[in-house]
């Protein structure tokens, strides 16, 4: 008998259940015994599934964790430097906006062509 229940057609399901219902009606104690044993096996399978999920997650931690520690911060210095540059440019815009109010157009043009070395 094919017992891949996942592939049972509706007809298969009805036949299967009808057969079990007949046993349940004719010999309830026997059916109960079979049922109890089968459910005990099913319970064990549920625990195995839990265990498999737990093992998977342990694998994931041991696999991803060290790689995250090793590579996860490779862009950190670059991101920090870009944020520093962003703030520096904002301060520069503030300073230029203030200075421009004190300069003539010609003076502004001269300043805009200058570059600046850190001493």
């Amino acid at each position: 008998m094919n017992q891949d229940f996942a592939r049972y057609t509706e007809k298969d399901i009805l036949a299967h259940c009808r057969s079990n219902a007949r046993l349940l009606a004719s010999n309830p104690i026997l059916h109960q015994t079979y049922q109890r044993e089968a459910y005990a096996r099913a319970e064990r399978k549920l625990r195995e599934a839990d265990e498999e999920i737990r093992v998977f997650r342990a694998w994931r931690t041991s696999f991803v964790g060290p790689r995250r520690d090793a590579w996860g911060h490779f862009d950190e210095a670059s991101r920090q430097a870009q944020e520093r540059a962003r703030r520096a440019l904002m301060h520069l815009h503030f300073a230029w906006a203030a200075l421009a109010t004190l300069l003539t157009d010609e003076e502004q043009a001269t300043w805009l062509e200058r570059d600046f070395h850190r001493e």
């Binding site: 839990d50 998977f56 520069l92």
Partner: protein, 201 residues
């Protein structure tokens, strides 16, 4: 890195859900209508993307195959003596859920590893970006220092408070986006410092 945190946190709910619908109580529970199965991206295909992903995909395929076998065995025992067709069908659905229980987490692992592999492979590019951004920041800081000194000199010469020019102009300052930083960064590759015009541009 949020995905990584998420996948470490998102643990036991499913196991609890599986237990709650254990075969001791199959008939007592009303059948939950299953959401229509959304097409899942296939994490198994990611094995072709890189060495780390290949190792991970193989390991995850073993785990999911094992879980699938367990779900099959559970279904066999849970339905062997079932006499109620509705309960039978419910348990078939439940076995499917059980077999697929790790699919989302496998997808998350693949996403996280893709990010990490990209970071690893980009080490040289990140170092270059860091150097360019640092050079840009230093030029902007040096320019700011000189501009501020000039503001102070001119304000003093005119008998103004040094803060006054900043207050007068504050509203005309744009907010600086990281995209603008990224656009200016390559320009620092020249040894020559950028003129103020370009720093502001």
């Amino acid at each position: 890195m949020m995905t990584l945190l998420g996948l470490l946190a998102g643990g036991g709910a499913l196991v609890v859900a599986l237990r709650r619908r254990s075969p001791r109580l199959p008939v007592a529970r009303a059948a939950q209508p299953m959401p229509p199965p959304a097409p899942r991206p296939d994490w198994r295909a990611a094995r072709a993307e890189g060495d780390t992903l290949a190792i991970a995909a193989d390991a995850m395929a073993d785990h999911t195959q094992m879980l699938r076998s367990i779900a099959d065995a559970w279904l066999l025992s849970a339905n062997l003596w079932e006499s109620d067709p509705a309960a039978f069908r419910r348990k078939v659905q439940h076995a499917k859920t059980m077999a697929m229980a790790l699919e989302d987490e496998c997808l998350e692992v693949v996403d996280a590893l893709r990010v990490l592999e990209r970071l690893r492979d980009g080490a040289a590019a990140f170092a270059q970006q860091r150097d360019q951004a640092t050079a840009l920041a230093e030029q902007a800081e040096a320019a700011t220092t000189q501009l501020r000194a000039q503001v102070q000199r001119l304000a003093e010469a005119r008998g103004m408070e040094a803060r006054a020019p900043y207050q007068a102009s504050a509203s005309s300052v744009p907010s600086i986006e990281l995209a603008r930083v990224a656009r200016l960064m390559p320009l620092t590759a020249d040894a020559r410092p950028l003129p103020l015009q370009e720093l502001l541009g």
